[in-house]
């Protein structure tokens, strides 16, 4: 079943990517921040589609994968080229969200050259990190195995996104000032981004709240500052997965009190409740099947629950969240093709519903025909039209922000080139490393 989720996730990634690209190249009145945001979401989807590809394609035994051996996930062989490329794609996806976070809906850095220089520096550090973890330094006897930037940057990004989310969730209803209208939109983007990046771990990491070994130091005393740094970054990264859940849970209670909207507040609290349920049932040595077997199929419940929570959040929710982001924040304009937009929404709905009902079948013993019946009924009632209407951006101000140094469109072009160049360079680096030329 797990590879089926990857297949559906891959299809959704490709569909959403194609949908964004189709609308992205239409000429319209979008601002440069919206266009740049659309490009960054495309980079994320390229990475995510590739991740799914390497998960399910090896199971198909295609001859090309015998040569490239993309079996880093669960396979016996770890191919260096495939691993470095996969890591680099994740780093590009992280960079894409860092850029989107810094420009949605207003650029936080006014100087375009400074902005671009910062992104280039980040990509150079990512490139150096690939060399550090796979190249010559990895052959040193005293090498400390860690990813200072792959671990540290998303943790810092999540910390900042969590703050933006907190600012939004704790604000009163109705933006009273121009400033608050922008911070509210930044906060909504941040909530979605936090759920996208950290949400899948919230279900099965809930036990960390009871973990007394969080500050246990892996490195032995006197082993050097690099061990200290590696442990510190590792703990910070671990903490930044669960810390947002705590902040968003508190924020969602305030949000419900202030605005009374269960859609966003309820979704966040459901993460908390499902995580507590998961920890209660599976957090101990022996799952309490006595409780759950009363109403479910106990043999497959643990696996099904993990797929329903972690699996669907990783494979299905991410492309759907990206779809919501690009439409809600005007990164693409669906008016160019209402038919294609409707088809995209139907595919998203069908993909999500079919997988969820497929997983629920063994849990609750729902016959396949019945789940198919409900899926058909949902589509027949044209719920996709309501979803499309809910995603459409409200009437709000979208200034074409001015920058110092260069135009926004020029910055957009430069960042895309930098990310493409980074991927090419890491691929070349991986080829050299795989031949042993950078081990010497």
């Amino acid at each position: 079943m797990a590879e089926t989720i990857s297949t559906v996730g891959f299809i959704l990634d490709v569909l959403v990517l194609g949908f964004i690209l189709y609308l992205h190249f239409k000429k319209d009145d979008r601002t440069w921040t919206q266009k740049l945001g659309a490009s960054m979401m495309c980079w994320f989807l390229v990475c995510h589609a590739f991740m799914h590809l390497v998960q399910f394609l090896p199971t198909w035994n295609l001859w090309i994968f015998d040569d490239w051996a993309f079996t880093m996930y669960g396979g016996e062989e770890r191919d260096i080229v495939g691993t470095i490329v996969a890591e680099s794609l994740w780093k590009v996806a992280i960079t894409g969200f860092v850029v989107a976070m810094l420009i949605t809906p207003m650029p936080l850095v006014k100087n375009a050259n400074l902005f671009f220089g910062g992104i280039c520096l980040l990509l150079v550090l990512f490139l150096w990190e690939s060399y550090y973890t796979w190249g010559h330094p990895s052959q040193e006897a005293d090498m400390v195995w860690f990813w200072p930037f792959w671990s540290g940057v998303p943790a810092l990004m999540l910390l900042f996104l969590t703050y933006l989310s907190w600012n939004y969730l704790s604000s009163p209803e109705g933006a009273e000032t121009r400033m608050e209208s922008f911070t509210d939109r930044a906060g909504l983007f941040a909530v979605l981004a936090v759920i996208l990046w950290a949400g899948k771990n919230w279900f099965d990491w809930m036990g960390i709240f009871n973990d007394g070994s969080f500050f246990y130091w892996d490195g032995m005393p006197g082993e050097g500052w690099l061990h200290f740094l590696a442990d510190g970054i590792g703990k910070f990264e671990q903490g930044m997965i669960i810390f947002p859940l705590m902040v968003l849970s508190v924020g969602s209670v305030i949000y419900l009190r202030n605005r009374g909207s269960w859609l966003l507040g309820g979704i966040i609290l459901s993460f908390l409740l499902l995580g507590i349920a998961h920890d209660y049932m599976f957090g101990g040595d022996t799952p309490d099947y006595g409780v759950i077997s009363i109403f479910v199929n106990e043999d497959s419940f643990a696996e099904s629950f993990a797929l329903l929570t972690h699996g669907t959040m990783q494979s299905l929710a991410r492309p759907l969240i990206v779809l919501f982001i690009v439409v809600r924040f005007g990164m693409v304009q669906t008016q160019h093709s209402p038919v294609v937009s409707r088809a995209m929404t139907i595919m998203a709905l069908a993909g999500a519903m079919s997988v969820i009902t497929e997983i629920l079948q063994p849990m609750f013993g729902v016959p396949q025909l019945l789940s198919g019946f409900f899926l058909g009924a949902i589509l027949a009632f044209e719920i996709e039209r309501k979803i499309m209407a809910a995603m459409e951006p409200p009437e709000e101000e979208n200034p074409d922000w001015e920058l110092d140094g260069c135009e926004g469109d020029e910055l957009h072009r430069r960042i895309n080139i930098a990310m493409g160049a980074y991927l090419l360079l890491t691929f070349i680096l991986a080829l050299f490393i795989s031949r042993g030329e950078l081990f010497i």
Binding site: T183, G212, F215, G239, M246, V250
Partner: protein, 62 residues
């Protein structure tokens, strides 16, 4: 119109003119809204509480 009222109107006009431009807003105020200064402090407080909680558990205080 008194002198103070004239000043208020002028400052409102200045704000309006500034708002109408496409220059990005003040980032410090954007991230730490002056109307709600507690947002940043409460966030820092939650951060300290979160890691403090783990440290106290690690130290065996509860």
């Amino acid at each position: 119109m008194s002198e103070e009222e004239v000043k208020d109107v002028e400052s409102e006009e200045e704000v309006h003119v500034e708002d109408a431009t496409n220059m990005p807003l003040n980032v410090a105020k954007y991230l730490n809204p002056p109307e709600r200064p507690w947002v940043l402090y409460s966030f820092i407080g939650m951060f300290v509480f979160f890691f403090g909680y783990y440290y106290l558990r690690y130290a065996g205080h509860f």
